[in-house]
Symmetry: C2
Subunit: 327 residues, 2 copies
């Protein structure tokens, strides 16, 4: 069962890890947001790619919530001694990822090929694909002006309200052949519980990607979304506040509305605590599933992924049945 | 007393540290070999600059003979896990130096300005100057062909005999304004106990550097060399074998001959064990000084440096006396 998962960072990584654990090797392809990418100390850093990478390689630090487990910080300490800015610290092991990536990009390799090679090098049995090979940079406007995403996210601790979001470079980007093929060959499309605005938003802003998903759905391929907002709170990060500040409802229903408007989902998974929102989700023409969506442990990831895959299978079966009847 | 020291890596670093310890802050300028520079994991690495830097910052690992004391290797281990070549390992702290440098070079800063800023960032009270801003790359020919210097030096452990040495890019390089000014303003020029062929050789191959030293010597500025070959053995590295393989005498006398032929020394420091070579050194028109040249401890470095500075002072006084007489 070939599965494509759209993913931001940590939440997307957990979803991807659950899916990978529920599938055969090679069946999962994760399309990751690269709008958060940045240059730091001459290195090209792709935070969402790496969160997914570490989750799929089984080395993610679940306690800290990001980075590699057992990480050390001797390099960061030395950089601080040299007077370098310290707000975006890189761990000693994590740095290896950035060195691996940057060296290949400088040699002229495509970001997609680098991401695939990196995942192979870490023994990951799934494919991780950047949403595009062209640089796309998410920028947010606060009352103090426009900021690079990591500047807002890490340096400013997401404190200012976000008034506007844009994805610089998205218009000139293209869905890569690998992304197109993955969606064309998928049996299920999963939209991970990532930030709808700044994680899933940049991915679907890449020209060619949404039409590919629409085309898959027309062929009967089910698309399943999972809410990253539970009980009106983002599981991680500023999605709730960002939704509210941008005039959208900061609930699972708000997320479902957004995805439905983009033509991104047939099925939407809500947490038990949001059960009351199910009828309104259904009213969007989306099948609502109420379950435990909190992936705090590996077993919970696997359970949620298994439920998603089961639901997708039954949804696809139901959809194909009337199609055969109509002949 | 302003002192310029030409230096390769570890031996040059010890000499520079001794000089720095014997001088007032700001009086020492070290001109370092950049022929050993290399690109590794997308970073620009300048091994001789950094050996001198760490020695002058007081963080050099004297036991290991290179790198920073108390270094850790978590990044190198992770790179090895990713399947990256491991023959040139970078320590976690050492990496900060390369990140600092590479980031600035990519921003378009001159290598000289980067080296000065790096030394300041590490609290070094001396100036470290690359021999040139243009890239110069030392290459050695063995019976198996031409090799990049670090490939021969680190990966091949200096095992093959060196048949020929060249400094790619040297002809197009220039003595920088900083290097020129340092030599013009120097009261003493010291040629450190580095490899005459691959450490001092590239420095003096930079067009404009030797004439500047010749001009200083004509003005009565004493130039003092120190042998890095003691008792027919290089204190470190392959200088002895390299000298022999290239048809030169692998002794302190061979080193003195080389420097005298380049017009690089008025005075030459030999170790006690080489006392018998002093008359032949004197026969080159060079003043020979016999002393302890083994800088195994900080006190020995300071002692040697103090002796060099004292000798330079008396040499300059003697030289200026007849010059005044002749008016």
């Amino acid at each position: 069962m070939r599965v494509v998962c759209l993913a931001g960072g940590v939440g997307g990584g957990k979803m991807a890890a659950g899916l990978q654990g529920s599938l055969e090797p090679g069946e999962l392809t994760v399309i990751v947001n690269t709008g958060d990418d940045l240059e730091r100390h001459s290195l090209t850093i792709s935070p969402d790619n790496d969160s997914v990478l570490y989750a799929l390689a089984g080395v993610a630090d679940d306690v800290q919530g990001w980075g590699i487990t057992g990480e050390t910080w001797n390099n960061a300490e030395q950089l601080a001694k040299l007077g370098e800015p310290t707000w975006f610290r890189l761990g000693d092991r994590d740095l290896a990822t950035h060195l691996f990536r940057t060296e290949r990009l400088r040699r002229g390799m495509r970001p997609t090929d680098v991401a695939l090679e990196l995942a192979r090098a870490m023994g990951v049995p799934s494919r991780i694909l950047p949403m595009a090979d062209e640089p796309v940079r998410t920028r947010v406007r606060t009352d103090d002006g426009w900021f690079d995403f990591q500047d807002y996210f890490v340096r400013l601790h997401q404190a200012p309200e976000v008034r506007e979001v844009r994805f610089d470079g998205a218009e000139a980007a293209h869905a890569t052949p690998e992304v197109q093929d993955a969606i064309r060959e998928a049996d299920v499309i999963v939209v991970g519980p990532s930030n709808p605005i700044v994680s899933i938003g940049p991915i679907v802003a890449v020209p060619g990607l949404l039409p590919e998903i629409a085309s898959a759905r027309r062929r009967g391929i089910p698309a399943v979304g999972v809410s990253g907002i539970v009980g009106g709170k983002a599981l991680r990060g500023p999605a709730d506040r960002m939704m509210a500040a941008l005039g959208e409802e900061a609930t699972a229903l708000g997320v479902a509305r957004k995805y439905a408007a983009l033509g991104l989902i047939d099925v939407f998974f809500l947490d038990h605590v949001d059960a009351a929102l199910a009828p309104e989700v259904e009213a969007l023409g989306v099948s609502a599933v109420i379950t435990n969506t909190i992936m705090d442990r590996a077993s919970a990831r696997i359970a949620l992924a298994a439920e998603i895959l089961a639901k997708a299978r039954s949804f696809a079966a139901r959809r194909s049945a009337p199609a055969e009847d109509s002949r």
